[in-house]
Amino acid sequence: MNYLEVEDLRVSYHTPEGEVPAVRGVGFGLAAGSKLGLAGESGCGKSTVALALLRLLPRSAGIRGRILLDGEDVLTMRWGRLRAVRWAGASIVFQGAMHSLNAVRRVGHQIAEPIRLHGSVPRDRVPQRVGELLDQVGLPGWRARSYPHELSGGQRQRVMIAMALACEPRLVIADEPTTALDVMIQAQILRLLDRLVGEHDISMLMISHDLSVLSGSCDRLAVMYAGRVVEEGPAHAVVTDARHPYAAALGSAFPTVGDPASRRAPHGLPGDPPDPADLPSGCAFRPRCAVVEDRCAAIDPVLWPVDSDSAGSAGRSAACVRVLDSAAPEDTGAPDGAETATTRVADPDTTLPTQESGAQY
């Protein structure tokens, strides 16, 4: 069984301006010990997914769906149980450790805090354990007495990683763990994270807007667009041979590592990321899609297995009408008949594959 199983996760933020559907039905599974990368432009809902996994979203967020962590549904857990699962069952490495660490507490204290709280080691061994953790991430033990502002960005991120490993969780969620760092340090931190996660046999959900960051360390990739997974599959296949036009654009021109501009708009992809509060009808990617067709305005495609005949497509899926064509030719009817498209929308449950049928790994 997968250690983490997310089913039809939906999150919308209630704002004074109205509902913002930030995540619109995301599903994926993560096998124990494996690494899944979650990619996508700024604002597509990656952090919202990450925070939802431990129910850390602000009160303004409404969550639906199921999040099974080791078989238990996080969304219906009682508070006490949830607090016990946090950090000990799954921990998070946040982006920008300057703000994610408490500026007025020594880092040793902050690393020790979850160890004491969850009783991971006997009380008198806590300082020793903090020393071990710092050593693992390549920091000298006396750094425990430093304050966050006395450390460099890379050192702070090492502290974050030490903290994430403190209670020996089975899952680490890394939300843009290297985005704020310069290129050289990015590579170091990624290698460190990769090594430690491997050594301790921890599963990892790594989030980044940068496919090149993910493809190096993840077994599988899921590409998000406008609150949905639009393509997922083995990392190599998604990077080199994407079936969804957005995933293809993200992978075709590898964005320069660490280039802030590539965060907003991947190379070769015109237009802005969509506003989740005001999505186009049909396929959300339609306004920017280079191969858009008439029917894309009427059909809202969901994840569908990619034709298993073509090479390297085992366990792959994508959410694009063109994939539906190739996957189930008998189901498409006239390729660009507007009538057929309308019929599909009229009766989506019977003619369109459901979200769940997609990601199963």
Binding site: L51, L54, L56, P58, R83, A84, V85, R86, W87, A88, S91, I92, F94, G96, H99, S100, L101, N102, A103, V104, R105, E113, P114, L117, H118, P140, W142, Y147, H149, E150
Partner: protein
């Protein structure tokens, strides 16, 4: 570890010189401000309308010779620059001259009154800060809740009430007593004559202290509440709080261990600044409650006008602000590790 130790030693030396430069800078600023205050106070009260000798002698028959004698005695016949030099020389010896109305050294009057004022202003500020900060933490953490709205509304209402009015109300209702309600507290002063013994005097002074302190607290705690509330609001969305929650901490611990230590820093500075300001700020309350402090003294001095007294008190009030400001500057780095290095 030797590398680390060396780095540590170099750090310490560099830090020490930085600290010295910082402290020196603050001290210099304070001294310059103090000097400016002295100069201002001298000229400010010279340009006020009214003849001091007239003021000293109201209601009495005085000859022109007697007036001239008074002028000479108080140095008012000297040219302004000479008066200023005398004034500066006096200040250096804590000699503020003779009070026109009491005919005793101003320094003696101030020495007598400073204790009561520090007692009243200090107690009032500490109680107000304690109440305001505690309520502000809750209001900010649960902003928008019923508790937050009620707290904020009550505090702002009391803030808008004039202190002398509230003081008089307290005196009428709780000190004089109305109808069936007996007078629970003394109507004024700081001590009942004839009370003897350390314990008895302490209790008696405490009893006299209740109403003036209550008046002051009611009127000023809103400031602390609002500052603390907005500091808390600044922190509520912060990433490090998400980290703390992700670790599995209870909400109360997230608040106490993480949010409050961060949000408290700006408030601590404010408390120091207010400590300086209230010394001069309790004039109305002291007057209403006949509290024998600097405020009452100032009030009586203004009516004459008793130039040396008013001038000296002006210097004392301003110095209190400057000194507390200096203390705030020196204490803040000890509290905030980001400024400390």
């Amino acid at each position: 570890m030797t590398g680390a130790a060396t780095v540590g030693r170099a750090d310490t030396a560099a830090r020490r010189s930085r600290v010295l430069r910082y402290v020196g800078g603050r001290l210099l600023t304070a001294v310059v401000s103090l000097f400016a205050v002295m100069v201002t106070s001298f000229f400010l009260f010279r340009i006020l309308p009214g003849d001091p000798v007239r003021a000293m002698t109201t209601g009495r028959e005085v000859t022109v010779e007697q007036q001239a004698e008074l002028r000479r005695q108080f140095g008012l016949d000297q040219p302004l620059w000479q008066q200023f030099l005398d004034y500066c020389a006096g200040l250096a010896r804590f000699d503020f001259g003779l009070s026109y109305q009491y005919r005793v050294p101003v320094s003696e009057l101030i020495a007598e009154a400073i204790g009561p004022t520090v007692l009243l202003a200090g107690t009032g500020t500490l109680v107000a800060a304690l109440i305001g900060v505690t309520l502000g933490i809750r209001a900010g953490w649960r902003h928008g809740s019923v508790g937050d709205r009620a707290n904020t509304a009550v505090a702002l209402f009391l803030f808008s009430v004039p202190s002398f009015w509230l003081g008089l109300l307290f005196i009428v209702v709780l000190a004089s007593g109305t109808g069936w309600l007996p007078g629970l507290f003394p109507t004024g002063g700081m001590a009942t004559p004839g009370v003897d013994g350390v314990v008895a005097v302490t209790v008696d002074v405490g009893h006299h202290l209740v109403l003036p302190v209550a008046t002051m607290v009611a009127v000023v705690y809103a400031q602390y509440l609002m500052i603390m509330r907005s500091s808390m609001l600044d922190e509520t969305g912060a990433d490090y709080l998400t980290t703390a929650r992700a670790k599995g901490l209870r909400d109360a611990l997230v608040l106490r261990r993480h949010a409050v230590p961060n949000a408290l820093l700006p408030t601590v500075t404010l408390i120091f600044l207010n400590l300086g300001r209230v010394v001069g700020g309790v004039i109305l309350i002291e007057t209403v409650f006949s509290w024998p402090g600097l405020g009452s003294l100032f009030y009586s001095g203004l009516q004459v006008p008793d130039l040396p007294l008013v001038q000296a008190l002006f210097v004392v009030f301003a110095s209190a602000v400057i000194i507390m400001n200096l203390l705030a500057d020196l204490v803040y780095p000890l509290l905030d590790p980001r400024v400390r290095t």
